[in-house]
């Protein structure tokens, strides 16, 4: 994996971006646009092992640790669903440039509601979202000795 040059936002910045859109059509278009901006995901990474269990669509997540200039985890992801790809891109954005310990303790509960997605996403999609968070944390924890 190369260096990360993806847009980075904080939770508040992300919420502010979503608030601009007052209808679901634009909000989801924006979400899908974020997904399209994810860096390329190598086809060879689409393995059973990298597949996130508990998602109704297929989501693959891989990670790599960088120690220079500081310790941080880089994530890459892909999905066969445009909506889910948008969701996972949000998660990657929020966890970029963080150390494994920060990722494990990063609290983003309630994010779903704050982004105004609650009314439109099915319970299984929501479960999938939390399954992705669990996988991000599990990947990060492999770098904690």
């Amino acid at each position: 994996m190369g260096t990360l040059n993806q847009e980075i936002m904080t939770v508040d910045e992300l919420i502010a971006r979503f608030e601009v859109f007052d209808d679901w059509e634009e909000r989801y278009l924006y979400l899908m646009d974020l997904g399209r901006k994810l860096p390329a995901f190598d086809e060879s990474w689409k393995t059973e092992e990298n597949l996130v269990e508990g998602c109704v669509s297929q989501v693959w997540l891989v990670s790599k640790i960088h120690h220079e200039p500081s310790t941080r985890v880089e994530f890459r992801a892909d999905s066969d669903s445009q909506i889910v790809k948008g969701l996972v891109s949000i998660l990657i954005m929020l966890h970029s440039n963080q150390s494994p310990a920060d990722i494990i303790s990063h609290d983003i509960d309630g994010l779903f509601t704050k982004l105004g997605l609650t009314d439109h996403l099915s319970p299984s999609r929501k479960n999938g979202f939390y399954a992705m968070i669990r996988r991000l944390r599990a990947l990060a924890s492999t770098y904690v000795s």
Binding site: L29, S81, V84
Partner: protein, 412 residues
Amino acid sequence: MLDGRKIRDDFPIFERKIRGRDLVFLDTAASSQKPNCVIDSLSQFYRDSNANVHRGLYVLSMEATHKLEQSRKHVAEFAGANPDEYYTVFVRGTTEAINLVACSHALQSLGSGDEILITELEHHANLVPWQMVAKQTGATLRYAQIDADGRLDLDHFFDQVNDKTKLVSFVHASNVLGTINPAKEIVSRLNERGIVTMIDGAQAVPTMPVNVSDIGCSAYAFSAHKMLGPTGVGVLFLKKDLADNMVPYQLGGGMIFKVKYDTTRFADPPERFEAGTPAFAEISAFSSALSYLEELGMDNVLKHEQQMASYMVETLGKIEGLKLFGPPDDHDRLAIVSFELDNIHAHDLGMFLDFQGICVRVGHHCAQPLMEKLNTTSTTRASAYIYNSEEDIDILASALREAQSYFSRTLG
């Protein structure tokens, strides 16, 4: 053809607006909507006749028991299960019926070296129980293949049948592709060889005339909720000679003849398989659903089904980038149509359609091996019933075209 728009007047749910739009319900293969007569019948039962069935010696209990037994007679007549040949067992649904036969018959009588044959079209409910039986008894589970059009390859099917085949279970009509299998032809050839046959009729009985005695299978199952009836009611017809030798499925009240501290003598079927309090209010109300369908005439229901199937295949087939699965014409198929649209994930599409008030099912439809065979992980499935009209399909088709442009748009 039935007038779907007129029939809709009998179904109060169609007064409901979804996000300000009329409800377009194309998910009957999962569960049907209910007409007023069924809703009223259920509520009337609780108002007038409610008491537990069977053992009460008072008027209310006797009335409730009578209604339950009337429903039993009614459903056997409806599906042509001759009471001289078949027991009518009430269960919770098709899934429980298949599990019952798997546990009370197959687990007891199959062994290592025996074979079970099912097909690639099966719902998990008619697949996982047989996997469990094979694992526990040492029997081998075989699959009959489907052809490119999603129809059962009968030559391959019968190539799988041999002297070791002890049980064959197959779906009458597919919940994913709508394919109708030639049940009578299959069963008559298996009966010649003395093989036990089980049929999953969950999609067939609601949509076409079915005569179980004429088919001649050992066991036939379906669910009330897919055919205008209440939830929690399933029907299992069991050939008497098979059922008499089957052990109980669950143990408890209502299924015993005599209990002592050390031994129990079980009641005869159907009670042997009906432990505990049945869903008696729902079973009673189910009779009203059967009457409603009888009034329409199952021949007419099937005609409507096939006309809808034909219109769906034709209309959806015109959309560029839409890939239909299953039989390409209306011959021997139901109005259950699975498809993929461009590279839009079925879940994304389902969400978009929901915003338009259109109810379809997305995912693997409890048939993951079939999805693998079709080389996909999930499809979108539209299924029509008596209350649908061509207009619903036109609305769906235009929403699908809108979805194509929505999912290829960017904010820029």
